[in-house]
C-alpha cells in the first residue's frame, strides 16, 4: 500500500526524490502519511482536492483487495 502511494505520487510530481510515505499502523486501519516538496503540493492535491481524491480512491481499492482500511493523509 505504502509503495503504491509512493509510486503514484512520484509519477505526478516534479521532484520525485522528495516524495516520502510514512506508514502508521492503527488498530483497525493503516494511516499513510504522504509528504512531497512544497512546490509539488498542488500536484498531489489539485483543484478542489480532485487529485487527492483520485489517489485515495485508487489506494482504497488496493486496500479493499487486502481487506484493510487505509487513510491517506497529505502532510505539509
Amino acid at each position: 500500500m505504502k509503495e503504491l502511494l509512493e509510486a503514484i505520487a512520484k509519477s505526478l510530481v516534479d521532484n520525485p526524490a522528495e516524495v516520502s510515505v510514512n506508514e502508521v499502523e492503527g488498530e483497525q486501519s493503516i494511516i499513510l502519511e504522504l509528504r512531497v516538496a512544497q512546490t509539488d503540493m498542488g500536484k498531489v492535491i489539485g483543484k478542489q482536492g480532485r487529485i487527492a481524491k483520485a489517489i485515495r480512491t485508487v489506494v482504497k481499492a488496493a486496500a479493499t483487495k487486502e481487506n484493510k482500511r487505509v487513510i491517506v493523509e497529505i502532510l505539509q
Binding site: L4, I8, I51, A54, I55, T57
Partner: protein, 214 residues
C-alpha cells in the same frame, strides 16, 4: 538510451532515413543526434567520410501510460493486460484481467480515478494535450446504457407526478449522457446544480411560459 540505434550513410539524411526504416517510425517520433557529418571529399574520391547518426525513439503517450499503469498494477498485485489505441490526440486503453471489479469500483469510481491520474501523468509537461480513456469489460458502454434507461424512466416519473427530480452526484461525462438523452424531449428540461464533485442533474418539467418568452 537502450532503444537508440546508430546508422551510417553517405549523407546525414540518408543515415536518418535508414534508421527510420529500421525503427518503422516517422521523423517526428524520434530524436536525432548527428555524430559525424558526412563529407563528399575531393571530387568524391579522396577523403570521403560517412555520416553517422544516433536515432532515439521519443517517449510516447502510450509509453508513459503503460509505465504508470504497470507500476500501479504491480504494486496492487494484479495481473492486467493492456491494449492501447492512439488516434487524434486521444489514447484509449483497454484493461483485461480476472479482477476487474476492483479496478472498476463503486459506480466506476476507481476506473475514473485511474483514468484521471493516467491523464495527468501522460500530459505532464507542456506537450499537446492528449485525452485518456480507460475501459474494461465494456463498463463504459454498459454504464451509458444504464444512464440512458435511468434518464428516460425518471423523465416519465417527472411527467407523471409533475415534480422535478434531482439525481445523485455524477461526473461531467455522466451528466452529459443524462442531458443529451433528454434534450429532445420538449416536455422536460434538465440542468445541473451544486459544485463539483457533488454536481447533480435535475430533471424538471419544461416551463412553457419561459420557453415562449425566449
Amino acid at each position: 538510451m537502450e532503444n537508440s540505434i546508430e546508422k551510417t550513410g553517405k549523407t546525414v539524411e540518408e543515415a536518418i532515413n535508414e534508421a527510420l526504416a529500421e525503427l518503422n517510425l516517422e521523423r517526428d517520433k524520434v530524436d536525432v543526434q548527428v555524430l559525424e557529418e558526412g563529407s563528399k571529399g575531393l571530387f568524391g574520391i579522396i577523403g570521403t567520410k560517412v555520416a553517422r547518426v544516433l536515432v532515439t525513439p521519443k517517449e510516447t503517450a502510450e509509453d508513459r501510460a503503460r509505465e504508470f499503469l504497470n507500476t500501479i498494477f504491480e504494486k496492487m498485485n494484479l495481473s492486467v493486460k493492456m491494449q492501447f489505441k492512439e488516434k487524434n490526440n486521444s489514447l484509449n486503453i483497454l484493461l483485461e484481467g480476472d479482477t476487474m471489479g476492483i479496478l472498476i469500483g463503486r459506480r466506476g469510481e476507481t476506473l475514473d480515478s485511474l483514468q484521471y491520474l493516467t491523464s495527468l501523468v501522460v500530459n505532464k509537461g507542456d506537450k499537446e494535450y492528449i485525452r485518456v480513456f480507460i475501459d474494461t469489460e465494456n463498463y463504459r458502454k454498459k454504464r451509458e446504457e444504464t444512464l440512458v434507461r435511468l434518464a428516460k424512466k425518471l423523465a416519465d416519473r417527472v411527467l407523471k407526478y409533475r415534480r422535478s427530480i434531482t439525481l445523485e452526484p455524477m461526473n461531467p461525462y455522466e451528466r452529459r449522457i443524462i442531458h443529451s438523452t433528454l434534450q429532445h424531449n420538449s416536455m422536460i428540461t434538465t440542468y445541473s446544480v451544486g459544485e463539483e464533485p457533488n454536481r447533480k442533474v435535475v430533471i424538471a418539467l419544461n416551463n412553457r411560459r419561459k420557453s415562449n418568452n425566449f
